[in-house]
Subunit: 284 residues, 2 copies
């Protein structure tokens, strides 16, 4: 499977690309990232992702050595190198390259890395299952950082139990999943956790909220707990690359699956939004 | 300053060494590490560090593709390549190299990386100051992982305030520092937090406890709070590379510094222990 990599202006086949051992991403995970699907070589929601990367970087006091426009142009130039148009585009910005020492190194430039891999979009009519786990992550989950060990461990546990995701909770309060956001439908309303320091401000989340607004579905942003999750009419798991998945089993028990009509409405909204945004002229 | 790097059997000048972009350390921080000083090319407390690395790896379900003896031999072989004998030896083990996906990749071998840099041992008779900060890290602090962003941010804040370290606390309960362990002396006893999931089982901590036992100083392992820290007779900050530092200012207020005799006893114990363990025959 052809995949491309990029590092500070150089690019090549992903599996051949290297970076210095002394990039702070390597030994501290000291950086931020974004990932989004592309279709027809069009990078979906590029403005939102670039804005969020700048926001994540700012929260870690990493100053990107480029403008938003330069970055978008660089991402698009790399995208044009791919044979196929349907991909996942991943990029990360680390604080810089320096000998290992905790304080920020002086006079170093952040490093930009990209990975582009072909992608087959998921079938949103295949429903999924999840486990629930205690959320043991740090208290900076609003920043999209490279410090992902607890998410990896949670996802591995989900996979070993044959599940699509792990829904995390702090002492009963549902936060998000290992790599997705989670929301519930109850009595015709969407309930979704507020974007505090415990969850990432999901871009797919924003598209789901947009879909609710467009379809007269009330959106309530408030913390909710495991009991509400288990008794929800629907459980929705969203992420940039998986859009909207309907969760119908939780910890090996039936869950959600009781508001088919609103699920279909919202699924069609987020999928059609993606298709429309990534459409290109046939004779381009 | 000559420094060497190593990656899966290859080595060279540290600043020239590279690793694949697809090493999971790069984009997930998915690995564990150790660091220890060397003197006369002798790696201090190598058995303890190698054991802890195997323990950290095991907690993340990373299986080292070598035995403890093979690793010790490889570390020693690299150490022999250094011109000077006084260094910091750092090594890390990542889960492996693979295309980015949260679940553990199958059929990959963990990657071993080393960085060796010349080191000037600190003067333990220079006393230090610290700030206190809320501990916002994850709940796996017993594992020595590459997910270090909150520690970096805390250390940077300490540095900007002219301090040596940041003492972290969870809602008032003192845990540890950004890259060190913290202990207090009160009424002739050493009080140190228990090694639960909130702190790393420090190797310098174990040497300090050994020093207490050898000198009739009672050791009490229990959680303690910020009030006790501020009213301690002495505040000790320990780490493998900095041994034992006496902290005499906390948040810009005088603190500790009231049990000089026991400080001297313990400082001499840990320093002499290091010197004795790293002594070599003159005519070697």
């Amino acid at each position: 499977m052809q995949a491309l990599g990029y590092y500070n202006g150089k690019f090549g086949f992903l599996d051949d690309m290297t970076l210095p051992i002394t990039d702070r991403a390597v030994y501290y995970g000291d950086g931020v990232y974004e990932a989004t699907p592309t279709r027809n070589h069009v990078i979906y929601a590029i403005d939102q992702h670039v804005d969020r990367m700048f926001s994540s970087a700012s929260l870690l006091k990493i100053e990107p050595p480029f403008t938003r426009d330069w970055l978008k142009n660089e991402l698009n130039l790399m995208m044009e190198q791919m044979d196929g148009g349907d991909n996942v585009l991943y990029w990360q910005l680390s604080r810089g390259t320096a000998r290992r020492a905790h304080p920020f190194p002086e006079n170093v430039k952040p490093n930009l890395m990209m990975m582009i891999t072909p992608y087959r979009f998921p079938n949103l009519d295949e429903y999924v299952s999840a486990i629930t786990l205690e959320d043991t992550r740090f208290l900076h989950c609003n920043i999209k950082t490279l410090n992902l060990i607890p998410s990896i461990m949670a996802m591995q546990q989900a996979k070993e139990q044959g599940c699509y995701e792990a829904v995390l909770h702090r002492n009963g309060r549902v936060t998000e999943c290992s790599k997705s956001t989670v929301h519930i439908l109850k009595d015709g309303c969407l309930i979704t956790a507020p974007t505090d320091n415990l969850i990432l401000p999901g871009i797919a989340r924003s598209h789901l909220i947009e879909g609710c607004n467009a379809n007269g579905i009330e959106v309530i942003e408030r913390p909710y707990n495991l009991g509400e999750l288990k008794n929800a009419d629907e459980i929705f798991i969203t992420s940039s690359t998986s859009f909207l998945r309907r969760c119908v089993r939780l910890d090996d028990m039936e869950a959600g699956g009781r508001d088919e009509a609103r699920f279909q409405t919202l699924k069609n909204y987020v999928w059609n939004r993606f298709i429309a945004a990534t459409e290109v002229e046939k004779d381009r």
